[in-house]
Symmetry: C2
Subunit: 339 residues, 2 copies
């Protein structure tokens, strides 16, 4: 973990000194194998993928923009920063190998709590944290970059769907948005009655939705099986189904005719949450052979994916149950920017 | 360039829409070869290094912490964000391959100007920008991650120096700190006399120092030649010579006996600036065979490196010209954090 070059070096004060902070972080993370260099030198040196392309992606998580720390923990933010990047690997049919984690935040930031979530996610996804950087900043920003490999040899792009392909999602949608709604409801109830605990104000049954919001799961195995069974295009549902279907269709130059919105069956979610909420991190993919997909998911012990419609030849067509696919997405809740 | 998942999506407003911003950014950057995927899908897919390890590093540049935008331009900030990462590759004896650029900033941020500097640096270092992310944030933060390769097959770590090795730097130091001092002086003069232009207030001859501060150069060729001639340890001088000599000596478990502080001969710099200023991005390395180093640098047409001393067997020894090597570094100028 290289120190950012600086005439100012306020990171000396994060957690009692940058070097002390790095040592605490290292203690929370696995150590490298003997033939690799991870945290502590100018750069990490690792084994590249044994075959096929190297996948690379990077995503930011900004406090107050992507995460409200009044509603979720610093450890959840750390988990999410890893998961959203791993989801990008999954959406190519790949799996993650290495993560670089850059943290800019106020000196009082609890790096131990943040990295507990980062370490848990990296353990879940078998992804090594091999480097990064620390800096002071007024608000917390976590920028993660990940490498990955394609076991299938070729990445699945957004742009390969063809007319006639089935559109499939790896699971029901809307749970993260429903979890956020429950957290916001509880926070409002707390505000109206100071004696009411947030946990008590959470509606019965909402805990699983809140967990889906706090700790989204990237669908790595599902993405690899989709790729292996001939998925022609794939994307992760981070912006809501209505938006991500459009992204895939536009990149592929196809129309879409959808028969259903796959609500999470256990989540008490609304169609609006599934269409526009986003952050479910299920995968949406196109395939010509849906039977092969269903068989392979069953063989691998994965949840049955859900067919939501077909791709069509008219690139202007966006249909849902015979009507127009609604437009829109996400809630502009924090820090709306001036137009 | 994947959109960060968000229930809030203020990046829609950066530069008139995130997708429009990404298209403008793509127009400033080279396009991928036919067999690679760069900006625009969930992840990039690129060729891994043909042999040897994959190098990985990431560094943050934060407005108000690492860069004062009252003194240097947004394009300079972009250049620096790339250069500091490339310098990490150089300090391993490697060269950069790919960059991922994450930008969090206010909606009015001039992404075109920022990416002009990023593109110029990437052209200089032959490094491809293959992805990244955009988000709103109150203050500008640029987090860059880079991949690289080791033409020599093995990275040069900080930890390999042995007693008796010579310590060598690739060029005179202090110029960046002198440039910053000139910029601060000019800004103060402006403040004292509103009619005085900043450029007019810059002392004659300071322009080259200011350029060294605004556009630091990573020493990629020098690092590869040092590695090829048997450098046992290497680090880039980002924190000032006094600090970075300590980093190398501590990692290697050796003492140091220094005979000189290599002031930039053309820069009108002070010894304090060379010892403590940092941000020169020259390379400091240890080698048992200094004649081979000097010959190889001459053969490659590189500036002659400067021998500053030797490594010794006493790991507690830190000597300069027979006295103790002074401690300290960098100026705490912006945003000092509360203790």
């Amino acid at each position: 973990m290289h120190c950012a070059p600086a005439y100012s070096r306020p990171v000396d004060h994060i957690g009692g000194g940058e070097w002390a902070a790095i040592e605490r972080i290292r203690a929370l993370l696995p150590s490298p194998p003997a033939n690799e260099i991870w945290i502590g030198d100018d750069a990490a040196a690792v084994a590249p993928p044994p075959a096929g392309p190297l996948l690379l992606a990077a995503d930011l998580v900004v406090e107050g923009v992507h995460v409200d720390l009044a509603l979720v923990g610093l450890d959840d933010l750390g988990w999410k920063a890893i998961s959203v990047n791993v989801s990008d690997m999954a959406a190519m049919g790949g799996r993650p190998l290495h993560a670089l984690v850059c943290v800019a935040g106020p000196p009082e930031t609890d790096l131990g709590l943040l990295y507990t979530g980062i370490a848990a996610a990296c353990q879940e996804y078998r992804c090594a944290v091999v480097g990064g950087d620390l800096s002071n900043a007024e608000r917390l920003t976590v920028a993660v970059a990940v490498t990955g490999e394609c076991p299938g040899g070729r990445p699945v792009l957004r742009s390969g769907a063809r007319p006639g392909d089935y559109l499939v999602v790896t699971g029901g949608l809307g749970r993260s948005a429903a979890g956020l709604a429950a957290l916001l409801h509880a926070a409002t109830a707390d505000g109206a009655d100071g004696a009411t605990g947030g946990a008590a104000a959470v509606a019965a049954g909402a805990e699983a939705n809140i967990d889906a919001h706090r700790r989204p799961r990237a669908r790595v195995s599902e993405g690899m099986v989709a790729a292996a069974t001939g998925a022609t295009a794939m994307i992760d549902v981070s912006d809501g189904m209505a938006m991500d279907v459009r992204h895939l269709a536009e990149a592929s130059g196809v129309g879409v005719d959808l028969s259903t919105v796959p609500l999470d069956p256990f989540g008490s979610v609304t169609e609006e949450q599934a269409l526009f909420g986003g952050e479910d991190y299920e995968l949406l993919f196109a395939t010509p052979d849906v039977d092969a997909v269903l068989d392979a998911f069953a063989t691998e012990g994965l949840r049955a994916p859900i067919v939501i419609g077909r791709c069509t030849a008219d690139p202007a067509q966006r249909r849902l149950r015979g009507g127009p696919l609604p437009e829109g997405g996400w809630e502009h809740r924090w820090a709306p920017a001036p137009r």
